[in-house]
């Protein structure tokens, strides 16, 4: 490697005679390539071919041992009411999870982190526990709690409060509620964890000096906490958009992918149905490609708006 290149950064601090190896270890030019190598290698080795192949499959009709090119037919097949129902459910679900699963855990994390909090470790663990249960079992428990009989726990409570019992899994509105509730229950603790680890990164000194300037709790939250949590918040936003658009299991556990009037059909559910239940892998791939492009565009735009591609943050 060229010693001259690495010299400017290191020349002052490394007075010893630089060898080639040494300069490599000190080279700010070479180091990033070494660090990103695992990703580049695993991408080229394991992901590139499957991705290209999936893209290609979306233009094919696939039968056992036969693959025929059919042009845009698979994409044209998406012009039907089930696909639109899946799109609409998925978008509404994503919006709900964004509304609930970002601000709430952020505020909860700040509260747990505050010095007024009693037993923070206990509550942090309690809220995280649901994330540990498998979705199959979590779904079974939710089905029982939100059963449609008058004796099911949630309907019992509704009746006691003077409301009429609900057939939760049979109507669009309550069906969406079930999916969002299950997701909130399972993911609240995880997002809380992200925000808590982000809060550890904020030096206490900043708050102390703000207090000396006479800043109140709210102003500290908006002037210090929120801006410094921005990188983690952007992360949570990005994965929530992804998580919302690719939701499947939260619907599957209630209706095993066949919901009345498509009230629980999601894009991945529809993809799964086409690829594996009806064995139309071509159409399935087309749904996947449409989905991939959608999430990617939304996230790239969002990340650009938040300045994540600028040279220096």
């Amino acid at each position: 490697m060229d010693r001259q290149v690495s010299a400017p950064a290191d020349s002052k601090t490394v007075p010893t005679k630089p060898t080639r190896l040494r300069s490599f270890f000190h080279s700010q030019k070479m180091a990033p390539y070494f660090f990103v190598a695992p990703f580049v290698i695993s991408f080229l080795l394991f992901m590139l071919y499957p991705i290209i192949s999936a893209f290609y499959m979306s233009f094919q009709e696939i039968l056992p041992g036969e693959e025929t090119f059919v042009g845009l037919k698979n994409y044209q097949a998406l012009n039907n009411e089930h696909f639109y129902a899946a799109v609409s459910n998925t978008v509404i679900y994503t919006i709900w999870t964004l509304i609930i699963l970002i601000p709430v855990p952020l505020v909860l994390a700040v509260l747990i982190h505050s010095r007024f909090m009693l037993a923070p470790v206990l509550f942090r663990s309690a809220l995280f526990l649901p994330a540990l249960t498998s979705i199959v079992v979590g779904g079974a428990i939710f089905r029982l709690i939100f059963g449609e009989m008058d004796t099911a726990p949630m309907n019992t409570i509704l009746i006691k409060l003077g409301f009429s019992p609900q057939q939760w899994a049979m109507e669009g509105g309550t069906a969406m509620f079930l999916m969002v509730a299950l997701a909130s229950w399972r993911w609240m603790g995880i997002n809380l964890l992200y925000f808590l680890s982000g809060l550890q990164n904020i030096p206490k000194e900043l708050y102390e000096s703000a207090e000396i300037d006479g800043a109140g709790s709210l102003s500290k939250f908006f002037r210090i906490t929120l801006p410094l949590l921005k990188p983690v918040t952007i992360y949570v936003l990005t994965i929530s958009i992804y998580g919302g658009f690719t939701m499947f299991t939260e619907s599957y556990v209630f209706w095993t992918n066949h919901s009345p009037g498509d009230i629980g059909l999601t894009l991945i559910g529809y993809l799964y149905q086409q690829s594996f239940e009806n064995f139309n892998m071509g159409v399935g791939s087309a749904i996947g490609i449409v989905l991939l492009v959608t999430i990617l565009v939304i996230n790239i735009v969002q990340l650009k708006l938040f300045g994540q591609f600028r040279r220096e943050e």
Binding site: I62, L63, P64, G65, E66, N80, R143, L144, G147, E148, M149, T151, A152, A169, M170, W255, H258, S259, P260, G261, D262, Q273, S275, F276, E277, N278, F279, M281
Partner: protein, 355 residues
């Protein structure tokens, strides 16, 4: 699990020698001209007349057979004798669906309980009722028949029971496999339920309080002398062409699922109605077990009585899609929401299938 099998067969590597494929997914494996499953015709041929033929037809394509089922899945009516007695209805007097509807009115009047529950997000009520009349979602050539006269009449009959005379209710939870339904039925929620024979296991496991109260009878017929059952559901065991011991696997499958011993074991350990009818009166079948404890001794007498009336279904490549439409729209909208007429619901789904 079956997506794993699809992937292994499609890529040509990693499939097992022998696999079970559920009937609603079976069509996927028969698509195209390179069927990845081994033909089983020569194993079945020698003793073909000892079996319920329709159970082979559902796993066949172009005259070749690719799968062997565990059971006939003969659909029967399970009556709750206690409720029927309360209403003063003699179960054996119910011969036709008309009798059944009349009996339902008496049950409702006397006990306040519905005569039956109807699946609104699954197909185990509607399908056997059309299949017993020789109708189906598709004809034998795979043409869509979902919106034919018979089917419209049948769905109207169900609609009248639910929304007219109110002698039937949509199954709690939507079908007969939901926690809600088991709890409801176990407490004596309805006087009867139409399900295949393999549903016996569910009674044993999930509705223990009905032990000794359930009587199994053939389905009511649509006219006197009409057919009284239909073979529903199923799991076909196959041998994949990838098998390195193809012949051995085929022979083993033949022994396990076609022999008398094998068929007797199917009853004894799984509680299914075996596809080989000449074992139905074998002494081993008559032995007492947990099923006879629950339902009494006459289970196989009923089967023998309807042996030649068990109507087949037609399986097409589009069956998974048709079942999906029925599960989400065709029954739910007229029977549960009452937001569409039976005729419109059937026509709309049939049009989509024809596309």
């Amino acid at each position: 699990m079956h997506n794993k099998l699809l992937i292994a067969l499609q890529s040509g590597v990693g499939a097992p020698d022998i696999a079970d494929i559920e009937i609603s997914k079976f069509g996927n494996f028969l698509k195209g001209s390179n069927i990845p499953l081994a033909e089983l015709d020569d194993l079945i041929q020698p003793e073909k007349d000892k079996f319920i033929q329709s159970r082979f037809d559902i796993y066949s394509k172009n005259g070749h057979n690719y799968g062997i089922d565990f059971h006939v899945g003969a659909t029967v009516m399970y009556y709750n004798k206690e409720i029927m007695d309360q209403a003063g209805v003699k179960i054996d007097d119910i011969k036709t669906w008309q009798d059944y509807a009349e009996a339902g009115k008496k049950v409702l009047a006397a006990t306040g309980k519905p005569m039956t529950t109807v699946e609104v997000i699954d197909n185990w009520t509607f399908w056997p009722m059309i299949a017993q009349q020789g109708s189906d979602m598709f004809d034998q050539n795979g043409q869509v028949t979902l919106d034919n006269e018979t089917n419209i009449k049948t769905l109207k009959f169900l609609h009248e029971m639910v929304h007219g005379s109110k002698i039937a209710v949509p199954a709690p939870g939507g079908n007969h496999h939901k926690e809600e339904y088991y709890g409801f039925m176990n407490k004596g929620g309805a006087a009867s339920v139409l399900m295949p024979m393999w549903y016996m296991g569910r009674f044993l496991e999930y509705m223990p309080d009905l032990k000794g109260k359930i009587v199994i009878r053939p389905m009511p017929s649509w006219e006197p002398g009409g057919k009284r059952s239909a073979g529903m559901g199923g799991t076909g065991t196959v041998v994949t062409k990838q098998s390195k011991q193809l012949e051995l696997a085929r022979q083993f499958l033949g022994y396990a699922k076609l022999s008398k011993e094998g068929n007797i074991r199917v009853w004894k350990t799984m509680g299914f109605d075996p596809i080989r009818w000449d074992v139905w009166d074998a002494p081993e079948i008559k032995e007492k077990n947990k099923y006879t404890d629950y339902f009494g001794d006459g289970i196989f007498d009923i089967l023998l009585e309807i042996k030649d009336e068990i109507q087949p279904v037609n399986i097409s490549e589009k069956t998974p899609q048709a079942i999906d439409l029925i599960r989400k729209d065709v029954l739910f909208k007229p029977l549960k929401e009452n937001s569409m007429t039976p005729e419109d619901a059937l026509k709309k789904a049939a049009d989509e299938l024809r596309k």
